[in-house]
């Protein structure tokens, strides 16, 4: 495959991993986060430290990065998840920026100058495999009772509590899993770019991830996949328009939000069953129409 296209796909895959995690948190649990770049940074720097400084193999290093990101998220979660409404969102925003600033000042990791010389372990194959595993685990989780509990929390907190669901616990679990996914994405990114710089994990990165989740449709894994592929490759496809590409990118997002406020997929999934149902519904509609005449 063309090296350039492969590169775009790898970047989409890295974004997708973070988006899958955020999709669980925002789309299925109903919590907005503007600090996921922070978890990516923690995962990325930890994984890179493992491979560069401790010579640990790539996959275990990724997992360690995910675990560290997850643990940090647990700390944030315990402190902020009891807050109601938008306060959690604001707390994550603060966390993301704080993480970036701390890394800016950590000379051990190169500080604001960045950290070059990370081995290039990430390739097309392992990105695809990791994404597929991530997808399957997430889909299984969402179809289970734990996933249903998270969706219930999103829909109606009080009713969830009355139905025996520990709302705080499920918000925390969702946040931790979500941060682990972001951590893996960060690790993949570190070993793809072979260079880390705190600037890569600024607020714009967090916003980009949230935009992808909303663009694809809250509460839909297929939507997140589609969103990550489209929105990561769009600026690249539009590279020919140089200065105008970000304008077009912005317009594309705005148009989707106006014409389909529920996002591209809007809570639906691409599965054989759903496709069959869609087909059946269309047929029924047509039958009803002809009967109406």
């Amino acid at each position: 495959m063309d090296y350039y296209i492969q590169g775009i796909l790898i970047l989409s895959g890295i974004n997708l991993m973070a988006v899958l995690g955020l999709s669980l948190l925002t789309g299925f649990t109903g919590l907005f986060s503007f600090g996921h770049a922070g978890f990516m940074a923690i995962g990325g720097y930890t994984a890179a430290a493992m491979t560069v400084k401790y010579h640990i193999p790539f996959i275990p290093a990724l997992l360690i990065g995910a675990i560290v990101a997850s643990l940090v998220s647990a700390l944030i979660g315990v402190l902020t998840l009891k807050l109601k409404g938008d306060y959690f969102c604001i707390a994550t925003l603060g966390f993301g920026e704080a993480t970036r600033l701390i890394l800016d000042n950590m000379q051990y990791f190169g500080g604001a100058r960045g950290w070059p010389g990370i081995p290039a372990y990430t390739n097309f194959t392992n990105v695809i495999i990791i994404n597929i595993i991530g997808l399957i685990l997430l889909a299984n989780l969402i179809r289970s009772k734990h996933g249903r509990n998270m969706i219930a929390v999103r829909e109606e907190e009080l009713a969830s509590q009355i139905s025996g669901i520990n709302v705080f616990k499920y918000k925390l679990i969702s946040l931790m899993i979500s941060a682990a996914y972001a951590g893996i994405a960060g690790g993949l990114m570190a070993h793809y770019m072979t260079f880390l710089q705190p600037k890569m994990f600024a607020l714009t990165k967090s916003t980009e991830l949230t935009i992808i989740v909303i663009f694809g449709g809250l509460g839909s894994i297929s939507g997140s996949v589609l969103g990550a592929l489209v929105l990561t490759s769009l600026p690249e496809i539009l590279r020919a328009f140089s200065n105008w590409r970000l304008v077009i990118y912005g317009l594309a997002v705005i148009i989707i939000m106006i014409t389909r406020p529920e996002g591209l997929m809007g809570g639906y999934e691409f599965t054989p069953k759903s496709m069959k149902k869609l087909f059946f519904n269309l047929k029924e509609k047509r039958l009803k129409k002809s009967a109406g005449r």
Binding site: L137, L138, N140, L141, R143, S144, K145, H146, G147, R148, N149, I151, A152, E155, E156, L158, A159, S160, Q161, I162, S163, G164, I165, N166, V167, I173, G267
Partner: protein, 254 residues
């Protein structure tokens, strides 16, 4: 033995006393009514029993265990569930998903088993799905199982909320104005449903309602609240002839 006991329960909201010094018992497998004028503190009592509000003073025991100020989800797991005055369904989910979500009292597979879809998860999920469908059949919603909850007619939304509460296999069901906004015909259907539920699930029911024919018709015992205090307690006939109750509801001349 009594299923639920409230001893000297008081609830203050700042300077306002919503419930003051209420003593109250619910017997096993009984249907009890809770009536009173608007603002008497009926729903506050429900919120205190289910742990949504914290008790200021007093003690609530359920099935011999102290449940005062426990978290709502723990109380739900112990066997008290409720419906709400203003229906609180999982609006965007289907009827089936609403019931399935609450149907989990004997599924104990953990997160990892769920993510890897291991046999224990698979088997228990299958069981849960059967339970949910069985419950929908009993409650008479099986033919609308794929409807989105929000699109159901009002009466059926109430019914679904009761089904969701029942899927936790409760020992005590609290119904907060189940007949609100229903016509006499629907109210009669609801009465039958409540009788049915008690028979099939062997549970106790506590009802708040303003429809006197419903409350007087099905309750074995009634408690009357007024301004947060217990005004009277007794059988429907005793309550109907109690001068204090008549005064609270109709006022007194002169």
């Amino acid at each position: 033995m009594n299923l639920l006991e409230m001893k000297n329960v008081t609830k203050h909201f700042g300077g306002l006393t919503a419930v003051s010094n209420v003593n109250f018992e619910i017997e096993k497998e009984s249907i009890t009514g809770l009536i009173g004028p608007n603002g008497a503190g009926k729903t506050t009592i429900f919120n205190l029993i289910t742990g949504v509000y914290k008790v200021t003073e007093g003690k609530i025991t359920f099935d011999g265990k102290d449940i005062t100020n426990k978290e709502p989800y723990i109380i739900a797991e112990m066997g008290i569930t409720r419906t709400f005055q203003n229906i609180r369904l999982f609006k965007k989910l289907s009827v089936y998903e609403n019931v399935l979500t609450a149907c989990q009292y004997n599924a104990n597979y953990n997160l990892l088993e769920a993510m890897l879809y291991l046999p224990r998860c698979k088997n228990q999920e299958k069981q849960l799905k059967e339970q949910a469908e069985h419950l929908l059949e009993i409650i008479g919603l099986i033919d609308r199982k794929d409807f989105i909850a929000n699109n159901l007619p009002y009466g059926l939304q109430r019914r679904l909320e009761i089904a969701r509460a029942l899927s936790l296999n409760p020992k005590l069901l609290l119904l907060d104005e189940p007949a609100a906004g229903m016509n006499p015909d629907e109210t009669a259907q609801l009465m039958n449903l409540i009788y049915d539920i008690r028979k099939k699930f062997n549970l106790s029911i506590l009802i708040i309602d303003h429809h006197m024919d419903l409350v007087m018709g099905i309750c074995e015992k009634i408690m009357v609240l007024n301004f947060g205090c217990k005004l009277a307690e007794g059988t429907p006939i005793e309550i109907q002839s109690n001068p204090k109750v008549i005064e609270a509801y109709l006022g007194v001349e002169g």
